[in-house]
Protein backbone atom coordinates (compact mmCIF):
# COMPACT_ATOMS: atom_id res chain seq x y z
CA UNK A 1 0.00 0.00 0.00
CA UNK A 2 2.71 2.46 1.03
CA UNK A 3 4.76 1.44 -1.98
CA UNK A 4 1.81 2.06 -4.28
CA UNK A 5 1.19 5.53 -2.81
CA UNK A 6 4.88 6.29 -3.08
CA UNK A 7 4.85 5.25 -6.71
CA UNK A 8 1.88 7.54 -7.38
CA UNK A 9 3.60 10.50 -5.76
CA UNK A 10 6.88 9.80 -7.57
CA UNK A 11 5.05 9.48 -10.89
CA UNK A 12 3.21 12.76 -10.37
CA UNK A 13 6.42 14.60 -9.46
CA UNK A 14 8.33 13.12 -12.40
CA UNK A 15 5.46 13.92 -14.75
CA UNK A 16 5.33 17.52 -13.56
CA UNK A 17 9.06 17.86 -14.11
CA UNK A 18 8.86 16.33 -17.57
CA UNK A 19 5.94 18.58 -18.49
CA UNK A 20 8.02 21.66 -17.79
CA UNK A 21 10.51 20.62 -20.52
CA UNK A 22 8.02 22.43 -22.74
CA UNK A 23 9.52 25.64 -21.34
CA UNK A 24 12.32 25.24 -23.89
CA UNK A 25 10.03 26.04 -26.80
CA UNK A 26 8.74 29.44 -25.72
CA UNK A 27 12.25 30.33 -24.54
CA UNK A 28 13.76 29.78 -27.98
CA UNK A 29 10.79 31.38 -29.71
CA UNK A 30 10.75 34.51 -27.58
CA UNK A 31 14.51 34.87 -27.77
CA UNK A 32 14.30 34.69 -31.54
CA UNK A 33 11.50 37.26 -31.60
CA UNK A 34 13.40 39.69 -29.36
CA UNK A 35 16.55 39.28 -31.46
CA UNK A 36 14.66 40.05 -34.64
CA UNK A 37 12.99 43.03 -32.99
CA UNK A 38 16.39 44.39 -31.90
CA UNK A 39 17.66 44.02 -35.44
CA UNK A 40 14.60 45.82 -36.79
CA UNK A 41 14.99 48.70 -34.30
CA UNK A 42 18.69 48.89 -35.14
CA UNK A 43 17.87 49.26 -38.82
CA UNK A 44 15.00 51.69 -38.31
CA UNK A 45 15.22 53.38 -34.89
CA UNK A 46 12.09 55.44 -35.56
CA UNK A 47 9.95 52.28 -35.70
CA UNK A 48 10.66 51.48 -32.05
CA UNK A 49 7.12 52.09 -30.80
CA UNK A 50 5.13 49.79 -33.09
CA UNK A 51 7.86 47.13 -33.04
CA UNK A 52 7.83 47.02 -29.24
CA UNK A 53 4.06 46.71 -29.10
CA UNK A 54 4.00 43.92 -31.66
CA UNK A 55 6.91 42.22 -29.91
CA UNK A 56 5.18 42.18 -26.52
CA UNK A 57 2.00 40.90 -28.12
CA UNK A 58 3.83 38.17 -29.99
CA UNK A 59 5.85 37.16 -26.94
CA UNK A 60 2.72 36.81 -24.87
CA UNK A 61 1.21 34.57 -27.51
CA UNK A 62 4.38 32.52 -27.90
CA UNK A 63 4.29 31.94 -24.16
CA UNK A 64 1.03 30.00 -24.44
CA UNK A 65 2.54 26.56 -24.95
CA UNK A 66 4.77 27.04 -21.93
CA UNK A 67 1.72 27.99 -19.91
CA UNK A 68 -0.10 24.85 -21.00
CA UNK A 69 2.81 22.88 -19.60
CA UNK A 70 2.67 24.92 -16.41
CA UNK A 71 -1.04 24.19 -16.00
CA UNK A 72 -0.39 20.47 -16.49
CA UNK A 73 2.46 20.56 -13.97
CA UNK A 74 0.36 22.40 -11.40
CA UNK A 75 -2.48 19.91 -11.87
CA UNK A 76 -0.03 17.03 -11.45
CA UNK A 77 1.42 18.47 -8.26
CA UNK A 78 -1.63 19.84 -6.47
CA UNK A 79 -4.63 17.92 -7.83
CA UNK A 80 -3.58 14.58 -9.24
CA UNK A 81 -1.93 12.87 -6.18
CA UNK A 82 -5.00 13.17 -3.93
CA UNK A 83 -7.32 11.94 -6.62
CA UNK A 84 -5.13 9.03 -7.63
CA UNK A 85 -4.57 7.99 -4.02
CA UNK A 86 -8.32 8.15 -3.40
CA UNK A 87 -8.93 5.97 -6.46
CA UNK A 88 -6.33 3.47 -5.22
CA UNK A 89 -7.78 3.37 -1.70
CA UNK A 90 -11.30 2.86 -3.06
CA UNK A 91 -10.10 0.12 -5.42
CA UNK A 92 -8.36 -1.77 -2.62
CA UNK A 93 -11.38 -1.67 -0.29
Amino acid sequence: MEIAIGLILAGCALGAGCAMIAGIGPGIGEGNAVGQACAAIGRQPESKGPVTTTLLFGCAIAETTGLYALVIAILLIFVAPQRLVNILVNALK
Binding site: F57, A60, I61, E63, L67, L70, V71, I74, F78
Partner: protein, 305 residues
Protein backbone atom coordinates in the same frame (compact mmCIF):
# COMPACT_ATOMS: atom_id res chain seq x y z
CA UNK B 1 -14.23 75.71 -11.12
CA UNK B 2 -15.83 76.19 -7.72
CA UNK B 3 -16.89 72.97 -6.09
CA UNK B 4 -20.13 73.25 -4.17
CA UNK B 5 -20.73 71.36 -0.95
CA UNK B 6 -23.15 68.98 -2.66
CA UNK B 7 -20.58 68.24 -5.37
CA UNK B 8 -17.97 67.46 -2.73
CA UNK B 9 -20.29 65.15 -0.80
CA UNK B 10 -21.15 63.18 -3.94
CA UNK B 11 -17.44 63.02 -4.76
CA UNK B 12 -16.66 61.56 -1.36
CA UNK B 13 -19.43 59.00 -1.85
CA UNK B 14 -17.93 57.93 -5.18
CA UNK B 15 -14.46 57.66 -3.67
CA UNK B 16 -15.98 55.54 -0.91
CA UNK B 17 -17.52 53.35 -3.62
CA UNK B 18 -14.04 52.85 -5.09
CA UNK B 19 -12.20 52.08 -1.87
CA UNK B 20 -14.82 50.24 0.22
CA UNK B 21 -14.99 47.06 -1.93
CA UNK B 22 -11.20 46.70 -1.82
CA UNK B 23 -11.18 47.07 1.96
CA UNK B 24 -14.08 44.61 2.18
CA UNK B 25 -12.10 42.17 0.03
CA UNK B 26 -9.11 42.46 2.35
CA UNK B 27 -11.26 41.95 5.44
CA UNK B 28 -12.98 38.91 3.93
CA UNK B 29 -9.59 37.47 3.02
CA UNK B 30 -8.23 37.94 6.54
CA UNK B 31 -11.34 36.54 8.22
CA UNK B 32 -11.77 33.47 6.03
CA UNK B 33 -8.13 32.54 5.44
CA UNK B 34 -7.63 29.06 6.91
CA UNK B 35 -4.52 28.86 9.06
CA UNK B 36 -1.72 27.03 7.28
CA UNK B 37 1.92 26.27 7.91
CA UNK B 38 4.52 26.87 5.24
CA UNK B 39 3.66 27.17 1.56
CA UNK B 40 -0.02 27.43 0.80
CA UNK B 41 -1.00 27.30 -2.85
CA UNK B 42 -4.66 26.48 -3.24
CA UNK B 43 -7.65 27.42 -5.33
CA UNK B 44 -10.41 29.78 -4.32
CA UNK B 45 -12.07 29.20 -0.95
CA UNK B 46 -15.65 28.01 -1.14
CA UNK B 47 -17.91 30.19 1.02
CA UNK B 48 -21.22 28.39 0.65
CA UNK B 49 -23.11 26.18 -1.78
CA UNK B 50 -26.62 26.68 -3.06
CA UNK B 51 -28.41 23.39 -3.71
CA UNK B 52 -29.66 23.10 -7.27
CA UNK B 53 -31.23 20.13 -8.98
CA UNK B 54 -28.64 19.66 -11.74
CA UNK B 55 -25.45 20.69 -9.98
CA UNK B 56 -24.95 22.51 -6.69
CA UNK B 57 -24.07 26.14 -7.31
CA UNK B 58 -20.84 27.01 -5.52
CA UNK B 59 -20.17 30.56 -4.37
CA UNK B 60 -16.41 30.98 -4.19
CA UNK B 61 -13.94 33.69 -3.35
CA UNK B 62 -13.46 34.50 -7.02
CA UNK B 63 -17.14 35.32 -7.55
CA UNK B 64 -17.28 37.56 -4.47
CA UNK B 65 -14.06 39.31 -5.47
CA UNK B 66 -15.30 39.76 -9.04
CA UNK B 67 -18.40 41.53 -7.78
CA UNK B 68 -16.34 43.70 -5.44
CA UNK B 69 -14.12 44.69 -8.36
CA UNK B 70 -17.17 45.43 -10.50
CA UNK B 71 -18.40 47.81 -7.79
CA UNK B 72 -14.97 49.45 -7.76
CA UNK B 73 -15.10 49.92 -11.53
CA UNK B 74 -18.57 51.43 -11.21
CA UNK B 75 -17.17 53.84 -8.63
CA UNK B 76 -14.26 54.78 -10.90
CA UNK B 77 -16.60 55.42 -13.84
CA UNK B 78 -18.97 57.53 -11.74
CA UNK B 79 -16.09 59.49 -10.22
CA UNK B 80 -14.43 60.21 -13.57
CA UNK B 81 -17.66 61.29 -15.25
CA UNK B 82 -18.89 63.42 -12.35
CA UNK B 83 -19.30 67.05 -13.31
CA UNK B 84 -18.77 66.79 -17.06
CA UNK B 85 -18.76 70.12 -18.94
CA UNK B 86 -18.55 71.03 -22.62
CA UNK B 87 -15.37 72.92 -21.79
CA UNK B 88 -13.47 70.61 -19.39
CA UNK B 89 -13.12 72.23 -16.00
CA UNK B 90 -11.79 69.29 -14.01
CA UNK B 91 -8.65 67.22 -14.47
CA UNK B 92 -10.60 64.00 -14.23
CA UNK B 93 -12.60 64.87 -17.35
CA UNK B 94 -9.37 65.00 -19.36
CA UNK B 95 -8.51 61.56 -17.99
CA UNK B 96 -11.91 60.12 -18.90
CA UNK B 97 -11.80 61.63 -22.39
CA UNK B 98 -8.29 60.32 -22.93
CA UNK B 99 -9.29 56.80 -21.94
CA UNK B 100 -12.32 56.82 -24.25
CA UNK B 101 -10.30 58.21 -27.16
CA UNK B 102 -7.51 55.66 -26.67
CA UNK B 103 -9.93 52.72 -26.69
CA UNK B 104 -11.82 54.14 -29.66
CA UNK B 105 -8.59 54.53 -31.62
CA UNK B 106 -7.53 50.97 -30.72
CA UNK B 107 -10.85 49.51 -31.84
CA UNK B 108 -10.87 51.56 -35.04
CA UNK B 109 -7.33 50.45 -35.86
CA UNK B 110 -7.91 46.75 -35.23
CA UNK B 111 -11.54 46.17 -36.12
CA UNK B 112 -12.55 48.88 -38.55
CA UNK B 113 -15.43 51.29 -38.86
CA UNK B 114 -18.17 48.68 -38.72
CA UNK B 115 -17.30 47.40 -35.23
CA UNK B 116 -17.09 50.76 -33.45
CA UNK B 117 -19.93 49.64 -31.20
CA UNK B 118 -17.48 47.22 -29.64
CA UNK B 119 -15.37 49.83 -27.90
CA UNK B 120 -17.34 49.89 -24.60
CA UNK B 121 -17.17 46.10 -24.44
CA UNK B 122 -13.44 46.10 -25.15
CA UNK B 123 -12.83 48.81 -22.56
CA UNK B 124 -14.95 46.90 -20.06
CA UNK B 125 -13.15 43.60 -20.57
CA UNK B 126 -9.79 45.36 -20.39
CA UNK B 127 -10.40 47.21 -17.12
CA UNK B 128 -12.14 44.24 -15.48
CA UNK B 129 -9.28 41.94 -16.37
CA UNK B 130 -6.59 44.43 -15.36
CA UNK B 131 -8.18 45.27 -12.01
CA UNK B 132 -8.85 41.58 -11.31
CA UNK B 133 -5.19 40.78 -11.85
CA UNK B 134 -4.05 43.80 -9.85
CA UNK B 135 -6.36 43.04 -6.94
CA UNK B 136 -3.78 40.64 -5.54
CA UNK B 137 -1.72 43.73 -4.66
CA UNK B 138 -4.13 44.49 -1.81
CA UNK B 139 -4.08 40.87 -0.71
CA UNK B 140 -7.28 39.68 -2.33
CA UNK B 141 -7.42 36.37 -4.19
CA UNK B 142 -7.32 37.61 -7.76
CA UNK B 143 -10.28 36.20 -9.72
CA UNK B 144 -8.23 35.75 -12.88
CA UNK B 145 -6.07 33.10 -11.19
CA UNK B 146 -9.21 30.93 -11.13
CA UNK B 147 -9.75 29.18 -14.44
CA UNK B 148 -13.53 29.33 -14.10
CA UNK B 149 -13.49 33.12 -14.40
CA UNK B 150 -11.27 33.31 -17.47
CA UNK B 151 -13.10 30.37 -19.04
CA UNK B 152 -16.36 32.25 -18.58
CA UNK B 153 -14.94 35.28 -20.40
CA UNK B 154 -13.49 33.08 -23.13
CA UNK B 155 -16.86 31.39 -23.69
CA UNK B 156 -18.49 34.81 -23.94
CA UNK B 157 -15.95 35.82 -26.58
CA UNK B 158 -16.44 32.51 -28.40
CA UNK B 159 -20.20 33.15 -28.59
CA UNK B 160 -19.48 36.61 -29.99
CA UNK B 161 -17.12 35.20 -32.62
CA UNK B 162 -19.65 32.58 -33.69
CA UNK B 163 -22.43 35.17 -33.80
CA UNK B 164 -20.42 37.35 -36.15
CA UNK B 165 -19.38 34.37 -38.28
CA UNK B 166 -23.04 33.42 -38.66
CA UNK B 167 -23.81 36.87 -40.09
CA UNK B 168 -22.61 35.60 -43.47
CA UNK B 169 -25.32 32.92 -43.51
CA UNK B 170 -25.45 29.47 -41.94
CA UNK B 171 -24.35 27.67 -45.12
CA UNK B 172 -21.34 29.94 -45.40
CA UNK B 173 -20.44 29.20 -41.76
CA UNK B 174 -20.54 25.43 -42.36
CA UNK B 175 -18.60 25.82 -45.58
CA UNK B 176 -15.82 27.72 -43.82
CA UNK B 177 -14.94 24.53 -41.91
CA UNK B 178 -14.17 22.67 -45.16
CA UNK B 179 -11.61 25.18 -46.36
CA UNK B 180 -9.14 25.12 -48.00
CA UNK B 181 -9.56 21.33 -48.46
CA UNK B 182 -12.37 19.08 -47.21
CA UNK B 183 -9.88 16.73 -45.52
CA UNK B 184 -8.93 19.49 -43.09
CA UNK B 185 -12.42 19.67 -41.55
CA UNK B 186 -11.51 17.92 -38.26
CA UNK B 187 -8.49 20.18 -37.85
CA UNK B 188 -10.66 23.23 -38.42
CA UNK B 189 -13.16 22.07 -35.82
CA UNK B 190 -10.34 21.46 -33.32
CA UNK B 191 -8.84 24.89 -33.93
CA UNK B 192 -12.29 26.43 -33.50
CA UNK B 193 -12.64 24.81 -30.08
CA UNK B 194 -9.03 25.59 -29.19
CA UNK B 195 -9.66 29.33 -29.48
CA UNK B 196 -11.56 29.78 -26.19
CA UNK B 197 -9.47 27.12 -24.44
CA UNK B 198 -6.21 28.83 -25.31
CA UNK B 199 -7.58 32.26 -24.36
CA UNK B 200 -8.72 30.98 -20.97
CA UNK B 201 -5.50 29.06 -20.27
CA UNK B 202 -3.22 31.89 -21.35
CA UNK B 203 -4.72 34.44 -19.01
CA UNK B 204 -5.18 32.07 -16.09
CA UNK B 205 -1.74 30.50 -16.47
CA UNK B 206 0.07 33.83 -16.52
CA UNK B 207 -1.62 35.16 -13.39
CA UNK B 208 -1.41 31.85 -11.54
CA UNK B 209 2.28 31.35 -12.35
CA UNK B 210 3.00 34.78 -10.87
CA UNK B 211 1.07 33.90 -7.72
CA UNK B 212 2.85 30.54 -7.36
CA UNK B 213 6.31 32.04 -7.83
CA UNK B 214 5.54 34.83 -5.35
CA UNK B 215 4.33 32.29 -2.77
CA UNK B 216 7.41 30.10 -3.27
CA UNK B 217 9.80 33.03 -2.97
CA UNK B 218 8.00 34.39 0.10
CA UNK B 219 8.16 31.10 1.94
CA UNK B 220 11.77 30.57 0.88
CA UNK B 221 12.84 33.94 2.27
CA UNK B 222 10.80 33.31 5.43
CA UNK B 223 12.57 29.99 5.96
CA UNK B 224 15.94 31.57 5.23
CA UNK B 225 15.57 34.15 8.02
CA UNK B 226 14.61 31.42 10.50
CA UNK B 227 18.01 29.83 9.94
CA UNK B 228 19.84 33.03 10.98
CA UNK B 229 21.29 33.01 14.51
CA UNK B 230 19.99 34.95 17.50
CA UNK B 231 17.51 37.77 17.26
CA UNK B 232 18.01 38.04 13.49
CA UNK B 233 16.07 34.82 13.04
CA UNK B 234 13.04 36.04 14.97
CA UNK B 235 11.86 38.65 12.50
CA UNK B 236 11.44 37.61 8.84
CA UNK B 237 12.96 40.85 7.58
CA UNK B 238 14.16 39.29 4.32
CA UNK B 239 10.56 38.83 3.25
CA UNK B 240 10.10 42.60 3.12
CA UNK B 241 11.19 44.24 -0.10
CA UNK B 242 12.71 41.48 -2.20
CA UNK B 243 9.41 39.85 -3.32
CA UNK B 244 8.22 43.30 -4.39
CA UNK B 245 10.70 43.29 -7.27
CA UNK B 246 9.24 40.08 -8.67
CA UNK B 247 5.75 41.33 -7.92
CA UNK B 248 6.45 44.33 -10.13
CA UNK B 249 6.85 42.01 -13.11
CA UNK B 250 4.52 39.14 -12.31
CA UNK B 251 1.62 41.08 -10.82
CA UNK B 252 1.68 44.53 -12.38
CA UNK B 253 3.30 44.11 -15.78
CA UNK B 254 2.00 40.63 -16.52
CA UNK B 255 -1.51 41.44 -15.30
CA UNK B 256 -1.84 44.57 -17.43
CA UNK B 257 -0.23 42.82 -20.40
CA UNK B 258 -2.65 39.90 -20.22
CA UNK B 259 -5.61 42.29 -20.00
CA UNK B 260 -4.37 44.04 -23.14
CA UNK B 261 -3.79 40.73 -24.92
CA UNK B 262 -7.19 39.34 -24.00
CA UNK B 263 -8.87 42.46 -25.39
CA UNK B 264 -6.63 42.44 -28.46
CA UNK B 265 -7.36 38.79 -29.23
CA UNK B 266 -11.08 39.43 -28.78
CA UNK B 267 -10.90 42.20 -31.35
CA UNK B 268 -8.79 40.22 -33.79
CA UNK B 269 -10.89 37.05 -33.57
CA UNK B 270 -14.22 38.86 -33.92
CA UNK B 271 -13.20 41.07 -36.82
CA UNK B 272 -11.05 38.36 -38.42
CA UNK B 273 -13.78 35.74 -38.37
CA UNK B 274 -16.36 38.12 -39.80
CA UNK B 275 -17.09 37.12 -43.43
CA UNK B 276 -17.27 40.59 -44.98
CA UNK B 277 -17.95 39.62 -48.61
CA UNK B 278 -20.59 37.04 -47.78
CA UNK B 279 -22.29 39.49 -45.44
CA UNK B 280 -22.40 42.20 -48.11
CA UNK B 281 -23.74 39.76 -50.71
CA UNK B 282 -26.41 38.60 -48.28
CA UNK B 283 -27.42 42.16 -47.46
CA UNK B 284 -27.59 43.02 -51.18
CA UNK B 285 -29.78 39.98 -51.83
CA UNK B 286 -32.04 40.95 -48.95
CA UNK B 287 -32.44 44.47 -50.27
CA UNK B 288 -33.18 43.17 -53.79
CA UNK B 289 -35.74 40.75 -52.44
CA UNK B 290 -37.41 43.50 -50.45
CA UNK B 291 -37.44 45.71 -53.57
CA UNK B 292 -39.00 42.93 -55.67
CA UNK B 293 -41.63 42.33 -53.03
CA UNK B 294 -42.46 46.02 -52.92
CA UNK B 295 -42.68 46.11 -56.73
CA UNK B 296 -44.97 43.09 -56.78
CA UNK B 297 -47.17 44.68 -54.16
CA UNK B 298 -47.36 47.90 -56.14
CA UNK B 299 -48.22 45.94 -59.33
CA UNK B 300 -50.94 44.00 -57.50
CA UNK B 301 -52.37 47.21 -56.16
CA UNK B 302 -52.30 48.70 -59.67
CA UNK B 303 -54.02 45.59 -61.11
CA UNK B 304 -56.79 45.85 -58.54
CA UNK B 305 -57.46 49.41 -59.50
Amino acid sequence: MNKTLKFRIVDIFYLFLIIAPLVAGMVIKVLTEPAAEGIKIAGANIFFTIPFFIQDIVITESQINSWLIIITILGICLYLTHGLKTVPGLKRQHLAEMAVEKVDALVLENMGEMFMGFSPFIAGIMILSALSSLSCLVGMYSPTSDINVTAGWAILVFILITHYKLKGGFGNYLKSFAEPVVILTPMNIISEIATPVSMAFRHYGNVLSGAVISALLGSFLGGLTKKLPGILGQIPFLRAGIPAVLSLYFDIFSGCMQAFIFAMLTMLYVSGGFPGEAYEKRMKRKIERAKKRAEAKARAAADKV
